[in-house]
Symmetry: C4
């Protein structure tokens, strides 16, 4: 096996497709969005990407069949809009691996003709978010239109995110810019403690607006309700009502 090994599963011809990257990260926001798109629009796997920079690990399905960990590109037809959706269970394990892996992701996207990309993620606020006011913070390459994004609800704030953007999402912008890619990173505000379907919904709303499709949110809403119950119980246990931040210990087992 090479450092990176790309398996071709299908070769659909795509019409001006947009790359959507949703690997695991803060609040699993990006991964929730990407998986929701694949499920709702019944996407098909087109490429599997294996790399020696992922953990030496297999997952086991319900029939006992093991599968080597990998990232997947899916073709998603969203109301006639072609998306190339990238999901997976891992980021790379080293600096060099991140660069190598993201380069190969961008190569695959280029091969399918993607001229635009969205890297999805969460930005941690450190507090549970009240009243469903989930902002979506943005960053972009020079080739992305700030106004178009702002009109779709993306906020650009000075000095945020404070530490820059780390991981594959960061490099989709950083390496993408160097290839002239029109790329934006959409970061849903999230506490950072919980898997956050509401933050994922906020990010999806931006994508719908910019790319012109509509997707059913009910599965995400169901999942959000489950999380609400968990949070509600934690607040009860704290004897408090609104707004408090559960301790890290209380939240650790949820994330």
């Amino acid at each position: 096996m090479d450092d990176i090994d790309i398996e071709t599963v299908a070769e659909p011809g795509l019409d001006d497709p947009t790359l959507i990257e949703g690997l695991p990260g803060v609040g699993h926001v990006g991964k929730l969005v990407a998986e929701h798109l694949v499920e709702e629009f019944d996407g098909d796997v087109v490429r599997r990407v294996y790399t020696t920079d992922f953990p030496p690990q297999v997952t086991v399905d319900d029939d006992g069949v093991a599968e080597l960990t990998h990232a997947e590109f899916h073709h998603v037809d969203a109301d006639g809009t072609d998306l190339l959706v990238l999901t997976g269970d891992h980021q790379a394990a080293s600096n060099e691996g991140h660069y190598r892996l993201t380069t190969s992701f961008l190569d695959v996207a280029e091969e399918f003709g993607c001229e635009r990309a969205f890297a999805l993620g969460g930005v941690p606020t450190g507090e549970l978010i009240e009243d469903d006011e989930y902002g979506v913070l943005g960053a972009r390459t020079g080739d992305a239109d700030r106004e178009e994004l702002a009109e779709a609800g993306v906020e650009f704030r000075e000095d945020e995110p404070a530490g820059g953007i780390v991981g594959v999402s960061g490099l989709v912008l950083g390496l993408g810019a160097r290839r002239g890619l029109n790329a934006a990173c959409l970061m849903g505000e999230t506490s950072g403690y919980l898997v956050d379907p509401k933050s994922a919904q906020a990010v999806l709303e931006v994508l719908q607006e910019v790319l012109g499709f509509e997707v059913d949110f009910s599965d995400l809403e169901d999942r959000a309700e489950e999380m609400e119950e968990v949070v509600g119980k934690i607040r009860e246990m704290q004897g408090g009502g609104g707004g408090g931040m559960p301790s890290e210990d209380e939240l650790r087992y949820i994330g």
Copy 2:
């Protein structure tokens, strides 16, 4: 020395051999099984595998002679069934090393004509196991026959093992599947705190059934009795009777 250096010790012709992988892991279950097979059936070393991904370490034998750490393939004739048994003292030290090492292991197995493989290990339950009810959990490649394994006592359970299978055993399945290998991982239930000869025996019973040989268990039983005494003393020290789980501190020096 290259990254991986394979030394040919003997070139026996094997008849439809099965690869048995038993490197160190949870409860040392896989290693116990592999070593037991080599000892009981008087196996011969056929290959030594050195790699810069093992620790820079030598072991010293009773005559003071140092030997560079390595993994070994043994030819084991088990009642007329040819086994290619892989043992050693280390897993690889990096993600990349795991992939590289397992690839070379599978290359050696292919060279000897193995079309079937068993990767052996333990699955931690977090509790001392009562009444000798040592289950054997399974995972497999698509080319392995689930029914045949289930009939030999292997359990396939939904969502188990929870975190997938990590290390060389995982990759024997993950990389093996990509070569069309008929491979199964047999994971003996074990507390995870102790070297566990009883769990090893449970795994051996499955192998006997599937591969059609019989092996004497008395050495493993002796070793299991020694471990029982240790566990008994710990329970006494705790002032309790059955079933309690010794603290991690109490058990650390045993494993």
Copy 3:
């Protein structure tokens, strides 16, 4: 992307330029000096250096545009003295990366004709420094003139710095010496707990003297006053007057 990727931004002809290295380190002394020179003399970027040994990270500017993390060489015309000033946000993340990166830095400097180099940094004293007595400790290659440096105020002390010099600054000397480079490391004394503009000023005074330019210190002085206020508040909180060393916990958030 290669392991190291050097982007040419401008190709000015420089007259006997001196390399000034100021990457992040103890007290951010070197980085403060390098950035002050670039700002005061209105320097121009001439090279950007990208490497897979930097974190997989982008910074985001006030317009929301992301930029892949990199180091930069600037041409600075300091009162007619040509400087090639190297700044950035990161050191390398591995031993091998440090060697590879510094080698490429020295290659760039050689290409611009630098025969002399100053590697800038801080040396931690473990105590807040009183009465503005900021010494500048030196080390050098055999081709650097000890007397010239001593006359400019650089101190050479036996067995200091105790642990040698680690990181890019160390290698500018270590690898530079092997190419016959006239190089010195200037290490401003600093507590090690705080970003230290006063220590940076002490290092700048040495550079002015040796290289024959003058630079306005007012921006550094303003920043030093801000730091003084922070330190003053900490001392008040401690209820004490002069000289005490704040606890590590108190200082951690400042650095």
Copy 4:
């Protein structure tokens, strides 16, 4: 700079030389012996070995001159016996680096015609050693004569050292054996807490006996007396008399 860069300093013709390896390790025993031989017999540097697997670090001498960290081979004429003595300040920082570095060390030794090697180190006993009974534990390649070593006072004990031998010393045996080198590892017993000149002396006595030279021990004895004073003070502070083991905290600053 390559991964490993060997600088030729001198090319003496050596008569049947023996490699003596003394890099840093337990009790700095090997390093003390190697440096003592170089100093007493006025050895000359013949090779410097630089590697990107050493820390990115320079040491600074009393004249302020920085030197890139490296390992050194010295030619030592010990009463007419040619020794090739390897010293340095670091072991490698990675598994792969250890293999690569030791391979290059053995290449240099081979180039000088060494057919015999001694890898020197300490073996930790966990207790301060009483009454100057410093044993020297041995391990060897198959080509080394056990009887000759035993007659010189080397002890070969079953199952010792328990964890095998790790680092460059281990690989001098492990990789050396694969080249047919007559190599032995001499491990002086030492508490493991202190730099141990007495243990070094015990190892030197074995070397003298086997290789047929005599060396003045007075410098080592002086240094041992200094260490004795330190240990004496610790025992006083403990209020106790003989034999107690100082706590790790008390000893940490000495080692």
